[in-house]
Amino acid sequence: MAEITYLEAIRQGLWEEMERDERVFILGEDVGAYGGAFKVTDGFLKRFGESRVIDTPISEAAIVGAAAGAAHMGLRPVAEMQFIDFISCAYDMLTNYVATARYRAGLATPIVVRGPCGGFVRGGPFHSQNPEAAFFHTPGLKIVAPATARDAKGLIKAAIRDDDPVLYLEHKWLYRRIKESLPEGEEILTPIGRARVAREGRDLSIVTYGAMVWKSLEAAEQLDKDGVSVEVLDLRTLLPLDDAAIVATVKKTNKLLIVHEDTRTGGLAGEIAARINEQAFEWLDGPIMRVTAHDVPLPYAPTLEDFVLPQTEDVVKAARWLAAY
C-alpha cells in the first residue's frame, strides 16, 4: 500500500477506467505527447495509443462539443481543460448543449470534463479560477470536487461511469501536496451525490469542499485546543448537493459555517444557506455564516492573493465567533 498523491490518484483512476472499458478515451490540449500540463495523463499515449488519447486544437467549445457527440454514439469521453479557467470558452456548449441533451432530446451524454482549478499557486486571475458557481445553476450537469486522494480516484472513476455529464474539478494546490495510502487491488469508487464527514464535532459545523477542506481541518485542530469541537463536512459532490448530510450536521451542532475558496457573491454558500433555512431553520442557534474569498478577480502577487483568499486563520476566527454566538 504505497502513498500516492492526489494527482497520482486521478491518474490511476483514469488509467483503470481506460483499462476496464475501451469506450473511455481522453481528449484535450497537450494530453498526448506532453501528458497534460500537469502530467495527469503522462504515459497514456504510449499505453492507449493515438485513437484513445487525442491531442486537440486550442478549441474548448469543440473539445466539449466533440466529446458530447462521441458520448451520444456510446463512447465515454474524458475531456481535459488545460486550466479549468478555459471552460469559460465552452460555457455555451456545456450548459446549453450538453446539460440539456437528455431532457430536451432524450440524448445520453456521459462525458467528463476535468481540469485544474483553484488558487494559492500565484497563478493570477486566469489560472486560479473556481468555476463551480457558474455551472452550479445548470440542471442536467453534475459537479464534483474531491479533496482527498481517495476521492480524487473514487470520483474520477464514478464520473466516468455516470450516465450524465460531470464536471470534475481537481484542485491544483492539492496535486502534489496531499498524499494518502490507497489499498491496491480494491476498487475505489466514491458515490456521486454523497458528502463525507471529514471530522466529527459537536459545537459547530463547517460545510466545505476542495482545498478548503484542509484549511478547515487545520482550523478545527486549532479550535479543538480552545475547547471548540468542530464538525467538518466535505461535500465532494457540489451538484447535486447532499442535502441530507448538510441538514444532519446542522441538526447535530446547530451552527453552520460555510467555507469556500470561491468569491462570496453568487458562490455556493448562498444556496446552502437557503436550503438550511428551508430544511432546518428551527435547529439554528445562530446565523449561517460564510468564509469565502473577497469579491475581486484573484490577483497575482503573493501578498494580494493571500489577502483575497480565505486562510486557515480566517476559518478559526469565524468559527470562534460563531461558536460564541
Partner: protein, 353 residues
C-alpha cells in the same frame, strides 16, 4: 483544395444521370413536395394559432435539403445528419414523419420531445438525425464528435451537417470544422448561402463572395453548387459523402439558394430588395425546376407527379387529422428526465401546499 462552381444540370439532357434510378427520381420528388405541402399545412395551422411559437419556412430551399440528405445511406445505424430549422426536408428524407413534425410544432404529448422542444429540434439516432439547439454553430463540434466516433470505430458511416451563411460567423463553426478537418472525420458540411441571416445580407456577414472560400482555411476540399438544381446538389453531396466514407475526411459544399419567406412567419421582409422574391419564385423554384426537368426529359410523366401531389396532400391531411386534437403533455411530466438518476426532479414545496 480549390473551389469550383458546379454547373447547373443541363436541361434537355436526355439520359437520367448515372447512378440514379427512375424510382429515386420519383422518391426525391416525393420528399420535395412533401416538404412544401407539410410546411404549407404548418403555415395554415400557424395562422389558426395551433402552432405554438414561431414557424420557420424553407420555401425555395427544399431542393438542397432533400437532395443533400438523399445522398446519405439511410436505414438503422447508417449515416447521420444534423439539420437546421430550414432543413425539414432533410429530416423527412431520413425518416422523420409528417405526424412527428406536426405534433412537435403543436407541442403535443405524443410528439417526439413530448412538448419539450420546438419545431424540428428532435432526434432519432437510429434513423440518423440529431436535433440542433438554437445556438447556431454548436452542432458542428457535436457532429465532429459523432463522426470522430465513426472513424475511431472504423465504421463506414458518414455525417452531414448544415450551416447557414450567418451561422458561419460563429466561433463554434470555426472550432468544430477545424477540429473535424484535423481529425479527418467523415463529415460533409453543407453551407447554405440563402442570401439572408434574419435581415442581414452576406455583405454584412463576411467579406468573401462565396462561403466556399471559407473552407480553404481548413484545408478541406470545397465546391459551390446551384442549390436550386436538385440533381446538381445530389451529385455534389454524393461525391462528398462517398469520399468521406473512403476515409478522405471533411468536405464542404456551398449551396447557393434563396430564403423566400421571412426569417420566421412574423417577419415582413421589408428589407428585401423589390422584385427579388418574385424573381426567385418565378425563375428559380427548386421544385418547379426539378419537375420541369423530369417531364421535359421524359423521365417521368406529368400525370405521375400530379398523382403524387394528391397522395401527399392526403397523407398530410391524414397526419393533421390524426394529431390536431391531441392533448398537450400533462404538467408534471415536466419534471422527468433531467438526469438518468434521479429520474425525476423534485417538485417544489409550494406546489405541495
Amino acid at each position: 483544395m480549390t473551389s469550383r462552381i458546379v454547373p447547373a444540370t443541363q436541361p434537355g439532357h436526355p439520359a437520367i444521370p448515372a447512378e440514379v434510378e427512375r424510382s429515386q427520381l420519383l422518391e426525391i420528388y416525393y420528399y420535395l413536395r412533401l416538404t412544401r405541402t407539410l410546411e404549407e399545412r404548418l403555415t395554415a395551422l400557424y395562422r389558426q394559432t395551433k402552432v405554438i411559437g414561431g414557424l420557420f419556412r424553407s420555401l425555395g430551399q427544399e431542393g438542397e435539403s432533400v437532395a443533400s440528405a438523399y445522398a446519405l445511406e439511410r436505414g438503422r445505424h447508417r449515416d447521420l445528419l444534423s439539420p437546421l430549422i430550414r432543413n425539414l426536408g432533410s429530416m423527412l428524407v431520413m425518416g422523420a414523419t409528417p405526424l412527428q413534425i406536426l405534433r412537435q410544432y403543436m407541442a403535443k404529448v405524443e410528439g417526439p420531445t413530448r412538448g419539450r422542444e420546438l419545431n424540428i429540434h428532435f432526434n432519432d439516432l437510429e434513423l440518423g438525425y440529431v436535433g440542433q439547439i438554437s445556438h447556431l454553430g454548436d452542432m458542428i463540434p457535436v457532429m465532429a464528435g459523432i463522426t470522430l466516433t465513426f472513424k475511431l470505430r472504423r465504421e463506414p458511416r458518414v455525417g452531414l451537417v448544415y450551416i447557414g451563411d450567418g451561422g458561419t460567423s460563429t466561433g463554434t463553426f470555426h472550432e468544430g470544422l477545424n477540429f473535424a478537418a484535423v481529425q479527418r472525420c467523415p463529415l460533409v458540411v453543407i453551407g447554405e448561402y440563402n442570401h439572408w441571416a434574419y435581415s442581414t445580407p452576406p455583405a454584412k456577414q463576411f467579406a468573401v463572395t462565396h462561403l466556399a472560400e471559407k473552407a480553404q482555411g481548413y484545408g478541406i476540399p470545397t465546391v459551390t453548387v446551384d442549390g436550386n438544381d436538385v440533381l446538381a446538389v445530389y451529385a455534389a453531396a454524393k461525391h462528398a459523402v462517398e469520399r468521406a466514407r473512403r476515409g478522405k475526411g471533411v468536405h464542404f459544399i456551398e449551396v447557393k439558394t434563396y430564403r423566400r419567406k421571412g426569417h420566421a412567419e412574423h417577419d415582413d421582409q421589408h428589407y428585401v430588395p423589390e422584385d427579388e422574391l418574385e424573381r426567385w419564385a418565378k425563375e428559380n423554384d427548386p421544385i418547379d425546376r426539378y419537375a420541369k426537368q423530369l417531364i421535359e426529359n421524359e423521365w417521368v410523366e406529368a400525370a405521375e407527379l400530379t398523382a403524387m401531389d394528391q397522395r401527399i396532400r392526403d397523407e398530410v391531411d391524414r397526419a393533421t387529422d390524426a394529431c390536431v386534437d391531441e392533448p398537450l403533455p400533462a404538467p408534471e411530466t415536466a419534471l422527468g428526465g433531467v438526469y438518468a438518476d434521479p429520474a425525476d426532479t423534485e417538485k417544489l414545496w409550494f406546489r405541495l401546499l
